[in-house]
Symmetry: C3
Subunit: 340 residues, 3 copies
Amino acid sequence: MSAHFLDGSEPGVEGLRELVQRALALEGGAAPRRVPGKRIVAVFLNPSLRTRTSLEAAGHMLGVKVITLSPGTDAWALEFGDGAVMDGLTVEHVKDAVSVLSGYGHLLAVRAFAGLTDPEEDRADPVLNAFVQHSRAPVLNLESARWHPLQGIADATSWTRHLGTHLQGQKLTLTWAPHPKALPTAVPNQVLLTAAMMGMDVTVAHPEGFDLDPQVVHRAADLAGHQGGAVHVTHDRQAALKGARVVVAKSWGGWSGYGRREEEARVRAGLSDWMVTEADLFHTRDAGFMHCLPIRRNVVATDGVLDGPSSWAHETAHRRMWTAAAVLERMLGEESPWSA
Amino acid sequence: MSAHFLDGSEPGVEGLRELVQRALALEGGAAPRRVPGKRIVAVFLNPSLRTRTSLEAAGHMLGVKVITLSPGTDAWALEFGDGAVMDGLTVEHVKDAVSVLSGYGHLLAVRAFAGLTDPEEDRADPVLNAFVQHSRAPVLNLESARWHPLQGIADATSWTRHLGTHLQGQKLTLTWAPHPKALPTAVPNQVLLTAAMMGMDVTVAHPEGFDLDPQVVHRAADLAGHQGGAVHVTHDRQAALKGARVVVAKSWGGWSGYGRREEEARVRAGLSDWMVTEADLFHTRDAGFMHCLPIRRNVVATDGVLDGPSSWAHETAHRRMWTAAAVLERMLGEESPWSA
Amino acid sequence: MSAHFLDGSEPGVEGLRELVQRALALEGGAAPRRVPGKRIVAVFLNPSLRTRTSLEAAGHMLGVKVITLSPGTDAWALEFGDGAVMDGLTVEHVKDAVSVLSGYGHLLAVRAFAGLTDPEEDRADPVLNAFVQHSRAPVLNLESARWHPLQGIADATSWTRHLGTHLQGQKLTLTWAPHPKALPTAVPNQVLLTAAMMGMDVTVAHPEGFDLDPQVVHRAADLAGHQGGAVHVTHDRQAALKGARVVVAKSWGGWSGYGRREEEARVRAGLSDWMVTEADLFHTRDAGFMHCLPIRRNVVATDGVLDGPSSWAHETAHRRMWTAAAVLERMLGEESPWSA
């Protein structure tokens, strides 16, 4: 266990439930526990709308200063190779940048997406882990190649808000969705892991060839098993939706699609019927519809789904502010965080 | 009436006068009415120097957090079409982005310039109005296709500071000026509307073909009429300057220039004598010279005008901080704003 | 003397020593002297990692708001020519931008690197000096064409921390280092000037043709002489390292290299043995190794040097936060700064 927040499992199952309850209390009007004098250095190597703004808003609630470094406006050609002779395009080694930046704040936050070209590289989550390795401060993951824990805790808070605290055995369906591009798997991985921690009955539905990393699926199945839940994987979308209490839609590039993205793109072009429609929701058990946003409307899901009464997508996005505040209270507060 | 601040008419004439007085009081040393705990999310879809910096400075005075999103550093390919099938280049619908962002703050501010390709689109002020439509918080216009109300109130404060509170019937000349490019009309529209609200005797001077939107001119004439003022339009620049107490210079692309900007550019190249010179000011009645900045020196106006004793351009730019503070006090304060 | 902080000489030798002591006290846990209600407008015309983040962190410690303008995200095609007819690419004259921005804060900070094309232009430090000329507020140099005073004071603090307050006569070697590109001389100039002010025995070692501006060397020699120190220049790297207590490595383009950078690049390609190695440090008198960062590892210095026990590079980078705070306390505080 560590003082970092990297994949959302760090607080443990009980710690996660406490964070969810705290986020709901904050949303309901409880006073934030202010930690004035603290600073977060937040490094965005990829663009961000919700994550950045909700982090800044949560920081403001707690009296915390967030120093934000944006992609593109600064020289960010970082070197990652150990022992590299830096006579090429990279201008600074990650070990130097991270060591220095982490000393200017009390928490170092970073966003760095998957490269989607090398499966083992993405599995190693190289940027996030280099930050962890070289940081003098706890590291907060703002979405990495592999995980998006601040999204995960917002999701769990919405499940709890709508379905109650007893999530064990409740059916959640994570369904692959169409998209013009191959996308990273940080969000579906996170949904899977978080739902598994809550002991939910998780079904992942995706077309053939659009599998998630089997290591992630296996880890989630293992976690779910210990919490009274389960993880199923299927290509039968209709069966997967049946009886679901939560439907999470997300597009992603398949784990077996590395190195053959063009072929995958051709297959994907024929899969537009994986778009979530209002008719799909009829097969569920009054399921709430979720998507992390941004969403391609009428490609991933219809306007009717997104703007209809079953959608929890926007309220969950708003909740990002309260859940981030709950996480920051713990990471920056007086009490020792989950590492204790 | 609404709680937004979109074209500066929302407070009404009396409300506008009160804002001007409050801005002058703040500039004179009155203590700002702090509204700590409040947040502004400010979305810049176009660059900004004065507006952004003065907004942040005004927010700081009031103890307000301003979260600024800059153009280019984030993914901002927004979709505006209702019902659009988003399988192309746009990555997020404005309704989703605005709904979420507005929930993270107590005020949503936005800057989005005119496209200058379709007159009806610019007239509809599509970005600003999409923000208004989908925001959960009051919207503050930081310059749209059509209006720039924070500039307008700074202008009105300078007029009041120099000419007194009784502005009715005082002569203000808005003169078109040369520029290498066709520019949006938000600023001249705003000068016209604001001066009309103050009941001034407004003359718009421009070369043939460089007319403002007749709808705006008509609305301003109507407003001015109710306040004891008037709006005149002329191509006779010398006559327009005669007796003026205020000369506002600004370049703009003509309302009738849509679809024929190349032809307009050729005409414009021959209009360099519309540059404001010190000699021009001799014809006025000790007029103050104004321009919203940034200004092309020795193209729009000479160095002599800008750096001379008649220029109110720089002091008005500084005033942007105090006038923004006066607006924020009302929009974020305890009392209900002008909507009440 | 002025209230600005441009080349670090403004506080005078005694003032510099006091700033160093104050920075060490802050680093040791002394409470910052807060100056709430103050604002800094920080204009970055070039990218920044350490300077920007440490400035924001220092500002936060003092309760000061830092409004940061980043390169590229705003329209920053500034005109510098007096009397220029601005019908080309520049959109705003520096005199207008600076006059306005400086009025929104209590301190104006600016970063603008050397152009490296015209020696007299770089010597004139045109952007920094235009800011000084037109600013209504004191100006803080965040690295200009010629100087980097916030780096200089951090360096002096590390020297004092390791070698004691009596720096007079202690040997510091500034050694040129390899790099794929010709770099500006702000940092080496600053090391030279600061060490001279502290009365150190300074040796500058560089290959033939990589001389620093003789005006800077002359000024430093003069200053050092008054403080019981000296400045030597040599091409004999081994002799220069011998007995040094501090080794500062930095690459730069030669003063005589203007106008023939391609030729210089060919020469530079053969100078890889100027890289600082652990073996080099054996010749010193237990010297600390310093570099301002970012550093090209295994080009400027080896991993062994940077990660070894002799390196003061990272601790000095961290110190940037405390030294910036010490400078801001003086520039923004109640007492008059060094101008008094």
